[in-house]
């Protein structure tokens, strides 16, 4: 079952991984990439906090973070960091599409907004528009 807890788990991971990617990116040598990762990190942090608040407000206990997360390989170069960030956003988009399908009412409305935001975020890291974001392999 995919619900808002699933979305929150994805946001916990995204916040963590984008922090790692930011740490691997030089602000002086790759200012555009650094800015994109910084912006994405802030957005995912806000979404995480919104989801925590929404779940708590509805009487559900928000899922917590894992102790640590596996970091993708190949992030020693700016191209690798960009690819990892794009992959992360695509996985978030796919997760939100599943959450849309597994929810209803207000939870679904929230998931729809998350899906649209994440699909846009893919473009920031070199993604291209898709016919069905989040539903394509």
């Amino acid at each position: 079952m995919s619900d808002l807890q699933t979305a929150l788990a994805a946001e916990h991971a995204a916040v963590y991984l984008l922090g790692v990617l930011g740490g691997r990116t030089s602000e002086s040598r790759e200012p555009a990439l650094f800015a994109a990762i910084t912006a994405a990190h802030a957005e995912h942090r806000d979404r995480r906090d919104d989801l925590v608040a929404a779940l708590a407000a509805s009487g559900r206990t928000p899922v917590g973070t894992e102790p640590a997360y596996a970091v993708p390989e190949g992030i020693e170069t700016p191209a690798g960091v960009r690819a990892a960030a794009l992959d992360l956003e695509r996985r978030c988009t796919a997760t939100y599409a599943a959450v849309v399908g597994g929810t209803s009412a207000d939870d679904r409305t929230r998931a729809i907004a998350l899906l649209q935001a994440s699909a846009l975020a893919e473009l920031r890291f070199g993604g291209t528009p898709a016919v069905l974001p989040g539903l394509e392999a």
């Binding site: 079952m1 788990a9 894992e66 849309v100 399908g101 679904r108 729809i112 473009l123 528009p129 069905l132």
Partner: protein
Amino acid sequence: MRRHPPLTSRRAALGVVLGVPLLAACDVDDLRPPEATPSDRTSADPTLAAPPSDPDDALVTQAVEQVELAAATVLATTGPARRAVRPLRRLHAEHLARLAPDRSPGSASPPPAGGAGGVRAAETRLQRELARLAGEVASGGLAATLASMAAAVGQRLAVLPPEVR
């Protein structure tokens, strides 16, 4: 920021074992399409096929109408912007093929009154309407499809060149 690879969580490690790429916090189940909901039974059980009145039918019809409306605006685009809106034409055609596979390709709506202008406004309206319909349909799978279509329109809007009004 950490310089060393962090420990892999148990759930993330499971993802590695199963060959599932990592957005670590997500369970394998998290990344699967949603399981069939009760309202999806018609596609899974042939004995329930073609119910006399699927409440989602009217909403799908609305979605088709909204895509056709936006498509008509795009089709009416002239001048230098005509080439720029080709990806939108293809997107609308792809979405219509999924929403109404039996629809005749030539059955597009006439351009809306007021001329061909306003592609951006038409697409913004389409995105909003698809998202609204995604929130209203009973079927979870259909909701995901409509929401994804709305997201696709949003992506195309974001990359529209400035010559497209």
